[in-house]
């Protein structure tokens, strides 16, 4: 009881609905990637002229080779499940201010033709039904609803033969 009384004597202030909006530039390659998923539901990666690795997320420098990349490579909308989780704890998404709906499947995905990986949602919430190596396909947001963000991909779906 004494502790509770003591706790109450310490004041705190809250930031409340404070908002500090940012406006980030995607750059030319990021813009190309996001515009293509928005307008054409197509994925593009970028290829290192030295090691030949194809990167998604798209970027202009291959870190290990430290070379500038300019060659865009079109990728499929299917890929492979690398690893996954099912998120069940609730938290507020700081990008939207809204509770992220749980549970949701969360996965590392390798798009066909890419050497690096993406993280995204997967439409399965039973971990027993997922296994590394399974095939997945991107499910895009409906026409007219895509805005040029990674959320233009609704989620990836397990391809169930």
């Amino acid at each position: 009881m004494a502790d509770e009384t003591k706790k109450r004597q310490y004041l705190a202030i809250e930031s409340g609905e404070m908002s500090q909006p940012f406006r980030w530039s995607a750059g030319s390659y990021g813009s190309k990637f996001l515009t293509e998923i928005r307008d054409n539901k197509k994925f593009w990666g970028i290829k290192c002229p030295k090691c030949g690795k194809v990167y998604v997320p798209i970027r202009s420098v291959c870190g290990p080779c430290y070379t500038e990349m300019t060659e865009l490579v079109q990728l499929g909308d299917e890929g492979t499940l690398i690893t996954f989780s099912v998120v069940s704890f609730g938290f507020v998404d700081p990008s939207t201010g809204l509770q992220r709906p749980v549970p949701y499947g969360y996965a590392v995905i390798q798009l066909d033709g890419a050497d690096s990986y993406l993280i995204h949602f997967i439409d399965e919430t039973d971990p027993e039904k997922m296994k590394a190596g399974m095939r997945v396909r991107a499910v895009f947001e409906d026409d007219g609803k895509r805005t040029g963000s990674m959320l233009d991909i609704k989620h990836f779906s397990l391809i169930r033969e």
């Binding site: 989780s85 099912v86 998120v87 938290f91 995204h120 990674m150």
Partner: protein, 397 residues
């Protein structure tokens, strides 16, 4: 100016708890600094420079170096802020080390602190990541680590119970540490019965959110023996920050036999070469490792070379890493018992120093002479330091 060997001569830490509402951030910092200065029998005037760090978006105060000068004692002195995410605490230790090793400063104070209670930890961690490629779907540390845990189990056959053993060990060790946040004796069944946060990671597998601070005094070899306690020498250090985006660490999958943690493998290779470590389990007397969740206590042991790939479950279950074992891991209770993020890495260094100085109280590993301390963060970053009782023969980066 010749390079100098560097010893740790003073350590201060605050009580760690879920919410230190009794102190403002500056006061929390001051509590740790006063304890470190008292420990070294120094005053603020004796300090030549200060390195401070935290994750500033956790408190929303972005000029911590300036804001904290009254509490840190940096008023009118050179100060640098270093912030590298989870590794912040080990990075401030390295920064203080570099200051002294350069020969430009003799007495440098490293400070790491956090008040995790002041914001939502998952939200704050998400905003540390890329706004285009990571944030829209990222679920913070818990979800990110769960991806690694799933992969580790699939590739090695390790089980959730194997991971729970690590949580049981570290939390039990915390019973010996009066500064620790969670101090509880749990068994594997108790850990296994906690709810999933992000499969396969359960509440009992995760570190807590903690308020706390730590301060450590680094001194050059010219004066390191002029303090009440014998110096704990920094025998070597190494760090690697490899990846940009949260999915990048998984690119390493094709490295044959690799642990998927190349940053830790590469830092370890450099460090062990510098310090002359060929068999860490035999050579280290104690390790204070940044294990933010239980599965890390398996996979990171492999990346640190304590056992072969997939050998960690058998290693930890053998008792070799328990108190009384060949190389006790986290006598302090580790990160699974206290995680005031900016302080966490520095606490590993501080605990390693106390061990080799023989000043670790109830958590002392008898006769400890060589200790490993690590920091972990973000996209699988890795900081590592070796702290020893013996002075190194020369300065080794």
């Amino acid at each position: 100016m010749a390079a100098k060997r560097v010893g740790i001569v003073g350590v201060g830490m605050t009580r760690q708890s879920s919410a230190r509402r009794d102190v403002y951030g500056i006061e929390l910092i001051n509590e740790a600094v006063r304890a470190a200065l008292d420990d070294a029998q120094m005053t603020r005037k004796d300090i030549d420079a200060i390195v401070i760090g935290n994750m500033d978006h956790f408190e929303g105060i972005n000029y911590v170096d300036t804001w904290s000068v009254d509490g840190s004692g940096a008023l009118g002195k050179p100060i640098m802020k270093m912030t590298t995410g989870g590794t912040t605490g080990t990075t401030v230790a390295m920064g203080a080390y570099y200051h002294v090793a350069s020969g430009m400063f003799d007495r440098v104070l490293a400070i790491g602190w956090e008040k995790n209670s002041e914001s939502d930890t998952t939200g704050a961690i998400i905003t540390a990541f890329d706004p285009f490629w990571d944030r829209p779907t990222f679920g913070g540390a818990v979800a990110g680590l769960a991806l690694e845990a799933t992969q580790y189990m699939a590739e090695t056959g390790a089980t959730e119970e194997d991971a729970a053993y690590v949580a049981v060990r570290d939390r039990k060790n915390a019973l010996n540490n009066p500064y620790a946040h969670l101090r509880m004796e749990l068994n594997i069944e108790a850990i296994m019965s906690t709810p999933y946060l992000a499969w396969p990671v359960k509440l009992g597998d995760m570190c807590p959110r903690t308020d706390g601070a730590c301060a450590v005094v680094f001194a050059s070899e010219s004066i390191a023996n002029d303090f009440p306690s014998p110096p704990a020498w920094v025998r070597g250090l190494a760090d690697r920050h490899l990846w940009a985006y949260t999915s990048d660490p998984y690119v390493n999958q094709r490295v044959k036999g690799g642990t998927w943690f190349p940053a830790m493998e590469r830092a370890t290779a450099e460090l062990y070469e510098k310090v002359g470590i060929t068999d860490p389990l035999e050579q280290f007397d104690v390790a204070e490792l940044y294990l933010p969740y239980s599965f890390a206590g398996l996979r990171y042991m492999e990346a640190l070379g304590f056992c072969e790939r997939a050998g960690a479950p058998a290693l930890v279950r053998s008792g070799a890493t328990d108190m009384g074992g060949k190389c006790p891991v986290n006598p302090s209770g580790g990160v699974l018992s206290s995680n005031a993020i900016g302080a966490t890495g520095l606490l590993r260094v501080a605990e390693a120093a106390l061990q080799v100085q023989g000043r670790a109280g109830d958590r002392q590993v008898p006769g400890a002479a060589l200790a490993l301390a690590t920091g972990f963060g973000g996209c699988y970053w890795s900081d590592e330091l070796v702290i020893g009782k013996e002075k190194p023969e020369k300065v080794r980066g």
